[in-house]
Amino acid sequence: MKLYKKEGNIVQILSFPNETVEKGDYLLIEDGDVGKGLIVQVIDVQFANIPGILEELLRSLPDGGELIQGEDFDPLEIAPHITYIQDARLLRCKIRATMNNESLSPNSSWLPSRSQSAIKKLPIPTLLKMAKTTGELPIVLGGTKDSMLLTIDASSLDGRLNIVTGKKETGKSHLSKLLMLNLIRYGATVVVFDLNGEYTSLGMTSDEKRNAYHNKIHVLTPSQNFKVVLKQLNLHVLLSILIHALHLPGTSAREFRTIWRSLKERDNLTLHELGEAIRNSRCNHHVRDALFSRYYALLNSRFFTDNVAEAMLLNESLLKAKNEGGAIIINLRNTSSIDRQIVVEYVLGKLVELLTSWKLKAVFLFAEEAHLYLRETYWDDIVTRMRHLGIFTTFVTNQPNTIRENIYRQADNIFLFNFTNEHDLEVVSRAARVDAETVISIATDLPPRHCLVLGKVVKDFPMVVKVKALDIKTMGETRLFFKDTN
């Protein structure tokens, strides 16, 4: 390999057919004279622009598009040299770091010698070792192209905002489960908004036996084993539900607050009494109607109850998870859009309450297709206020444009699966931790279950990994009409 050109932070390297280099590979350009090396990543492999190549190709097809038949008497065997030159490749590489005495720095202000530099492939484990990506809490994500393990550290997910995205059936949920189970293994508290019930069997192996995580997975299904007693609700949590999920106007919210306080003073906070209080309220009849319609929405969700024995306390599950590590799966499958928003408002409100009072230290929140249940104002909350409170969110989506641009800008880690649509990639490439060229070039060629890892987990060295398999019962499979007809 030979260093050919440098423009900005792009280096072009000439590679010959006997050197196997692919997109995503790392190369080390070592300049012995200055004792430094430039670490670059291949983001595109092109044919080298060899003079005369067009003539060469045209010459081979002059007979109406068919190859002209003939023999070459080539005693000096020049032909292999011609094909060698013809197949020369140009590697477009992005400068990632400078290596100086085994330590890395993001500096790329120097230029290695074009004539004297030696270029070689940099194995991923060597790079990871130099970048010090692994610590005391290793998470094996899977294998790299050269069959090496890619290990990240759980602490690099701590306090971070993560995005897992890619088109459907590429393995996003699988990676989320892998991250989640490893976080549980290290004693973390995880909350999952499970839109399709994919996470409910994480405690079971593929042959339906209990696995090591069985006792740490708590599946809460709203209106079934997850109900809330009105008495135990904080007014501000319920008001959040009413205002944000059920769009209660401000005047009506003020009236509701009066009713609630009155019932609470009388220790009479039940669903029945709440209904009666609204009915008997001497407020404007429009306000009363508004309150009534929200009251019935709460009632019909069957998420609220007066029966304490029926109520599964979220607090208990969370505190149990806090002590031993565990995941609370909020199963939102078969839950209507309104009910979903009610549940999410409740859970987030509760989490904030517990974190504010330091009853919980921190929570890793996994949100699948969050745009379907997260209200507008929460997006900003998540990257600012909630992160400081200790909610570290991982968004999982196959529609990257549903996540706001400011989320991408502030994302610390991005796990990117295949996208073929340029518009989708353009959205993802707005992330601050990566350049658009890398995203667009590498992500379009990712095979299923392969993920481009970007951000702090890999110390800003983008890496492609084949996500390792998990022995858990799969629940995220698409239901098929023709599956059993044969």
Binding site: P51, I53, E56, R59, P62, D63, E71, P75, L76, I85
Partner: protein, 360 residues
Amino acid sequence: MLIEQLAITTTPKYSFPQPTIDTSLPQRLIELSIHSLKHAQNQPFQLNQQFFQQSNNLEQIQTTRTQLQPIPLTPKQEETMVAAVDTSSIKIGETTKGMVIAVRGATIWKNRKYYRYLRFGPFIFHVTEENKKQVYTALQRAYLNSPYEHNHNGSPSLLQMPTRIASLLERWQQTMLSKTVTNGLILFDGSLTSGINGAPTQRIKEILDNARKKQNIVLAFSKMTSLRFNGYLITDIPINHKPPYLFKIADLKPKPPIVLLGDVYVAKLTKGNYAFRLDIDKQVPTEQKIEALEKLLGNDLLSQSYPETLRLAHILCTFTANEVIAMQHFIARKYDLKIINRPDMHRLLFGPFGKGETCS
């Protein structure tokens, strides 16, 4: 340093009928090529991409009068093999003592509707003032059986060497075709003018004799000519006739030692602005000459008045820039020539006004 010995073999699969093919020239080309390159080993090597065209020797021929009567042509579909020969040479670099050149030849033939080719080379030579005589004499001997036969100018200058070696290869290919094709049309690139450098009269006569013996007719197409009539280049003479046609340039008086072994015509074989000088073996009766042209029209594709078979021969022997790089790579690897970049004096002295040495 020990140089890896290359396998020296001539092609085992020559696709023509093989009566008595003299393969001594290619054999000698390989030997000389390797021998000369061995002597170039470890020398600094200056890259050069200057192409040598097969230059038309200045023909000192006077035209007196000519019959400008066009002869109309009607394509004749009678199945006839069309074969063509062309060679090219290129200088691929300079050494401290001389230069490294490459030559290649291509033979194309069209039988029924398919084109086939046989390519010889590239043969790479390191030619110096010291070895040029030896190289050229050895090749001549291999081809003509005696050195300096009909060579009035001694060994060529160093700069002439690429075209002269290519000429030798081309004559050998023409000889092979004239001996192996039967009842066919053999197309040469250039004229049938002999007695000038690279075109010994005796040898061309032999080629034409061999061709006639096998009922072949040689048609030599010149892409450029210096022959003029009434101030016009003969190919530019306006003729009010619908192509295809040809007209004869009669009573040409070449100055000795130049000999015209063919009758000179101007052929306009398709519509458009292009016409070519066409030399047809003098010994062939006029009717057969015209019939040969008509068979060419009926058996080969013609684009811009030029036969496809000859065009392919040219295309297949021409060196592309890619091949030049590959040959430079080959000699640098195999013979350890150190590549240097000598500054272009024109650029150096005249800056943007210096157009490079090749354009001087």
